[in-house]
Symmetry: C2
């Protein structure tokens, strides 16, 4: 039998936003490993499974445990919210396994917040975009600022993940100020909060308004490109098909 470790993106959290393949990967697992907030989202869908949940900052220990269990022959899955590869655990699992051939790593995709948030807001990502995390826990702020600056200069739509936390209250404002070097204050922007949960909220606003928006860890931010507009209250980035 192949010893495999599944790294599964569960999307925003609702059962029906998972792919069938992700559902089946979890159904076929004995042990499901993940950050406790994500395990809480799916525990009710798979009540007969064994769960191993640890809090934030326990990423490496949790993934090491999953690799060990899979190598020992247990059918194991690591779950990530959104997609397993977009700021997810897929990279860390490969790094920790290294060049060993066991277990085999199988990454199963899921809907990332850029896609689910965009669907709620309208169609902000119909054209080229950049996805940038504002968390400076693992990345220098100077690097983040350069990425924001160049993305805005290039006229890309920009999606921001991790725009704020309890310790990072002013990152979104600082990011908006960088983007304002190249974008007008009336640039169409949007926010999506608690995507896929009961308390889901979206709002369309200007870049000037976004500067003072109070985001939290569960907020995904969308900054339009120069062509982005509002249609019927939604945020829409055209791509030009209409004129073809």
């Amino acid at each position: 039998m192949n010893k495999e470790l599944y790294v599964v993106g569960i999307g925003p959290g609702a059962y029906d936003e998972m792919t069938l393949r992700a559902c089946n990967a979890l159904k076929n697992s004995e042990l499901i490993v993940g950050y406790s907030a994500y395990i809480d989202l799916i525990r009710a869908y798979f009540p007969e499974k064994e769960f191993y949940a640890t809090p934030m900052r326990g990423e490496a220990a949790r993934c090491r445990y999953a690799l060990e269990m899979a190598a020992a022959g247990r059918r194991t899955a690591v779950v990530c919210s959104g997609d397993a590869g977009v700021y997810g655990m897929a990279g860390l699992v490969y790094e920790l396994r290294g060049e060993s051939e066991t277990p085999e790593i199988v990454v199963v995709g899921g809907l990332t917040a850029a896609c689910t948030g965009a669907a709620l807001l309208g169609a902000p990502l119909t054209h080229d975009f950049a996805l940038i995390s504002l968390s400076d826990l693992l990345t220098e702020w100077e690097t983040i600022e350069k990425r924001l600056d160049r993305a805005a200069e290039a006229g890309l739509s920009i999606v921001l993940y991790n725009p704020a936390s309890r310790k990072r209250k002013d990152h979104l404002r600082r990011a908006c100020e960088v983007i304002l070097r190249h974008a007008e204050p009336l640039r169409v922007c949007g926010v999506a909060r608690n995507i896929g949960r009961e308390s889901e909220q979206v709002a369309v606003m200007t870049l000037a308004q976004l500067c003072s928006y109070e985001a939290d860890m569960a907020t995904t931010i969308f900054i339009g490109n120069p062509q982005t507009k509002t249609i019927g209250g939604r945020m829409v980035t055209p791509r030009g098909y209409r004129d073809v």
Copy 2:
């Protein structure tokens, strides 16, 4: 009854790569509208449905037809490969409907090739990235070139959609030359072709090798960031969790 038009991302094409919500949206539709190559992918999964398929370049006419049918009360879905909002039809559908309140537009996400291709290659998108289309049918090449240049300068990983077509044979080489202004020739890159189909292929290579790679319309290209490396033959972009 609300008159709704569903715009549904079907992912790469395999039935089990759809979300349950996308499956249900199509099961609940009477009429499914789309580009003929995508309709061919899903026709067998929903044999009892009525399909309206038109060739490429028929986007606006096809979406207008779907809006008319939905406004007339038919349960209608427009399908897109990948995600409905990432270079998909969601934006065009909003543009064509305009400020009218009927039909209501409901966008249902799907796995875009950036996510499905990344899962096959390893974990190339664990950190910030830009998604850029090389098609200059709807975008000036100068704009594309500027976006490539700034994304590479900022150290973003880059995913390229539409890297080639019968008429655009040298776009990938030209894109690589722009990226080489800021990236070393040994930068780790990857390609994923015919994702989710029987003829699916992936390869990891250097940026120098990518310059002369013969891509086609069904190829998605991944250019790593300065930290991207190969682990066990896979393409992995670390994010630093390992050191936390």
